[in-house]
Amino acid sequence: MPKDGGIGASSKRREDVRFLTGTGNYTDDINIHGQAHVFFLRSDIAHGTITSVDTGAAEGMPGVVKVFTGADFEAVGGMPCGWQVTDKHGQPMQEPKHPILAHGKVRHVGEPIAAVVADTLEQARDAAEAIVVDIDELPAVVDMKAAVASDDVKVHDDLTSNLCYDWGFVEENKDATDAAFEAAAHVTTLELVNNRLVANPMEPRVAVGDYARGTDESTLYTTSQNPHVIRLLMGAFVLGIPEHKLRVVAPDVGGGFGTKIFHYQEEAFCTFAAKACNRAVKWTSSRSEAFMSDAHGRDHVTKIELALDGDNNFTAVRTETYANMGAYLSTFAPSIPTWLHGTLMAGNYKTPLIYVNVKAVFTNTVPVDAYRGAGRPEATFQLERVIDKAARELGVDPVELRRQNFITEFPYATPVAVEYDTGDYHATMDKVLEISDRDGFAARRAESEAKGKLRGFGINCFIEACGIAPSNLVGQLGARAGLYESATVRVNATGGLVVMTGSHSHGQGHETSFAQVVADMIGIDENMVEIVHGDTSKTPMGMGTYGSRSIAVGGSAMVRATEKIIAKAKKIASHLLEASESDIELKDGAFSVAGTDKSVAWGDVTLAAYVPHNYPLEDIEPGLEETAFYDPSNFTYPAGAYTCEVEVDPATGEVTIERFASADDFGNVVNPMIVEGQVHGGIAQGIGQALLENCSYDENGQLLTASYMDYTMPRADNLPQMDHYVVDHSCQTPCTHNPLGVKGCGEAGAIGSPPTVINAIIDALQSGGHDVAHIDMPATPARVWAAMHG
C-alpha cells in the first residue's frame, strides 16, 4: 500500500505550484533598481587573429554606459579549470588560458569579443553593431583526428599541439590486455561516433551582477547548479573577491542537465562590470547565444574491441577514444572522458582486463563538458553496442550473452579502479523482460510486418557511478575541489524546520523529497519542513547538484544534521520528562519514556530550546540548529536493464519508438513519482540523442545548428504512448555506505536509453535482411535508409 507521507510516499511536488502558476522566481525575474544591460559581441569567425577592436563609435551611442574589450580584463584571471588530468606519461594535461573576453585571437564562433553595457538591451545591441572588429581569419580545425595528426592549425599557439592529453587507463594493464586479444577466440570491433549535443535547458542562462559601494559587496544572481562552486571559482581565481564580500544566488533554475554546472565568462563579466559601472548589470542569453556559448556535451569518436574466449566469456575490452574539448577547457571538461568514462568500462560485466585510451583534443568549437550522464553514456553506448554486435556475430541471444558475463558477487572490484558495493543485474534483466513482454515480441513483429514495417527489439544494460564523490579519491585523480555536501537544519521555536542544503534543485523536486526525509525521521508533517537552497548567504558551503549526487550525498548530509538535531532534542526531552536520555524514544513527532505513558510533544521540546526556562543549561546550549558535512566513502552504482521496440518504415527509413521499458535499481527510493519522472525525462533525452539531436559544424568551424529549425529536440510524439513507456524501480539493492541506502536516479535514463534504441534499430534492419552492423546517432531517416541501401 502506498504511503501518504515520508520516505517512500509519492508526495506531490510542492514547488510545482509556483512553477505552474507563474510565481516562480527565476534569474530573469530579478530586476535591480537602476540596472543596466549587457550585450556581448560574439565572434562569427571560428579562428582568427584580432588585429583591432574599435569601440569609439559605439561608446558615443545613446544610452551606452561603457564598452569592454579583452584588454579590460588583462589584470584579472582567466576562467579556471577544475580538474587536472595526468596523461599516460605522467605529465599534466595542456591547459590553455581562457579569457573572459577574447584577447589576441578568437577560437570559436560565439566567443565573446566585446561587451556593451547600456541603459537598455536594445541600446546595447545597437551599439555593439557599431563596434568595428578586424580579424585576420585563420584556417579552423574542427575534425579531432585532423587536429591531432597535424599542427598546421593550432587552436592555441602557446601549446605544443592540439592534444590536451593522451590518457591511458589502466596503463599497467595495457600489455596484459593486448595479450588477451592475441589469445582471444573471437574479437568484435566497432567504430562509432557519440554525437555532439546541446543541453538546451528550457531556461537559457542569465546573470545579474550587483555591487554595493557602501559595503564593497558583490552579488551575482545566476542560473547555476552550484552557487558555492561559482563563488569559489569566480572569487578566488577570476576576480579576486574574497568570499565574505561575494554572494552568489541561484534562485529557481529551469533545468540544468550539466550545462549550468560550469563557471562562465558572462557571470564573471556581470560581477566585474557591476563594480566598474557602479550599477547592476544584467545579461539574458538568447536561444541562439545558448547554442554557441553553453558548454556542449558528448562528441566522442571511438574504436572499441571486445575479446571473448571459446565459451563466449568476455576476456578483455580495449578502446581508443578521441574526445572533443572544444576551444577551451570548460570547468570540469577534462574529467568527463576520463574518470567519468574510463572507470565505467566494465559495465555490468566481469571482464578481467580493460584498457582505455582517451585523446582529448582542442578544436575551434564551443567547449564541451558534462551533459546529463557525462562520460557514462559514452561508456555505456560503446560497450553495449559492441556486446550486441558480438552476439550477432556469434549467433547467440544478446540477453544470454549479457547474463553469462554479469557480475554476480558484491562487493566487486573492477579492473578500472572502482568497487561496486551492491547490485543484482539478473533481477533487473528479469524485470525488464517481464514488463516489456519480450515473449509477445514475435507476435508484435508479425503484426508490424503485416503492415510492411520492420520491427526490432533492443536490449541494453548499464551501470553508472553516481553520488559524486569521495573527496580524497577524486583529489588523487586530479579534482581541484572536494565533493562532499552540506546541510544545516534549523529548528524554529514553534517546531517548524528550515533545512539549508548545499544541493541545488533545478527541476529535481528536492523541496519535496528532501522534506519527506527530514519529516520522516522526526515523525512530523512534511509541510513543517522548508528546504532552502541556492544562496551562498544562507546555505553552508556546498558543492551543488550534478552526477546524480543530491539525495545520495546532499541527502546524507541532511540526515546527519537531522540526527544531531534529534540527539540534542532527546537531551532536552529527557530533562523535561525527568527521565534518562537513553530511555527517550522519538515516534510520530513525540518524545516518550520507554515503557511509560509519559511523553512530550516535538513542539514543546523545540520551544524549550529557545525559551530555556526549564532547560539543562549546564549541559547543553540553548537553540536547536545543527550542520553536517557528508563526504561519501564510495560512489553509488545505480544499474539497470532497458528494452526498446522500434518500427522502421523501409520505404523512408523513419524510426518510431513503439515501446520502451526500464528496470532500474536505484536502491531505496524516497519519492517514487519523482523518480519515475526523472527516468521518463532522462529516457526522452536519450531518445533525442539516438534519433534526433546533432550539433554540427562545417569545415570552417561555422556552427550550423543554432536554432530549433536545425537542432531537433525530442517532443511528445517522438516518445511511445505512456502505457508502453514503462519505468520500474522495484528492484532495489540498497547502497551499503550511505544512511538512506540510495543511489541516485537523475541520469540513468539518458545513460541507458541511446544504445537500447540503436540496438533495436539494428535488430529491425537485420530482421528485414539488411546486413547493417551499426548506425551512428542520430539515426535519422536519411541515415537509416542509406544504411539499408548499402
Binding site: D44, A46, V109, R125, A128, S288, F291, Q702, T705, D710
Partner: protein, 171 residues
C-alpha cells in the same frame, strides 16, 4: 558550397566583357544591390540588402576583379559583412567563350557564410545561392542583350533587340 553554370548571351565577347567591368551593370544585376561604386582597377564597394531564410540584413562589401585577361576571363572575389547577421564571402571564375551568334559565359563559384547566416540558414543557403546566381546572370544577360523575344516584341515591334547596356555602349 560550390556551384557552376553557363549562360549564352546574344552579344559579342567584347561587349560582355565591358559589361562585367561596369559598376552600373553590376548594381543592376546583383539582387538587392542598393549601391555599387568603384572601378575595375580598385575594386567595387557594394551595399546589398538580402533576406536569407529568417535573416534579413544589409551587407556592406567589397568586390575585387582579379586575374583579368581581356576579353577572356577574370576572377571576382568578394566579401560582405552583415553585422549581427554574419558574413558571406566568395569568389567566381568567369570565362567568356566565343560561340556562333554570341558569347558563352562559364562560371565556377564558391561561397561561404558565417555567423547567424550559417547558424540559421545553412539548410537553405545552397538553394539561396543558386537562386542568387540565376537571378544575377539572367539580369546580366538581359542587361546586355535586352529582354526576351516576346517581351521585346510587345514593347516595340520593330526595334532591334538591344539591352540597355548595349544601347549605351553602341549608341
Amino acid at each position: 558550397m560550390e556551384m557552376s553554370g553557363s549562360i549564352k548571351i546574344d552579344a559579342d565577347r567584347e561587349t560582355v566583357w565591358a559589361a562585367l567591368l561596369s559598376p552600373d551593370v553590376l548594381k543592376e544585376c546583383v539582387p538587392g544591390c542598393q549601391e555599387m561604386t568603384g572601378t575595375p582597377e580598385d575594386g567595387f564597394a557594394a551595399t546589398v540588402v538580402q533576406k536569407v531564410g529568417p535573416v534579413k540584413a544589409t551587407f556592406k562589401g567589397e568586390v575585387q576583379l582579379q586575374d583579368r585577361v581581356p576579353p577572356e576571363s577574370l576572377r571576382l572575389v568578394g566579401e560582405g559583412k552583415g553585422g549581427a547577421a554574419g558574413f558571406a564571402k566568395g569568389g567566381a571564375k568567369v570565362q567568356l567563350v566565343e560561340e556562333e551568334g554570341g558569347t558563352r559565359l562559364d562560371y565556377e563559384a564558391e561561397a561561404k557564410v558565417g555567423g547567424k547566416l550559417a547558424q540559421l540558414g545553412s539548410r537553405i543557403i545552397d538553394g539561396f545561392a543558386r537562386k542568387m546566381a540565376d537571378q544575377f546572370f539572367e539580369k546580366f544577360r538581359q542587361a546586355v542583350e535586352g529582354p526576351a523575344e516576346d517581351e521585346a516584341a510587345d514593347a516595340s515591334p520593330d526595334a532591334p533587340k538591344k539591352g540597355w547596356f548595349r544601347s549605351m555602349v553602341s549608341g
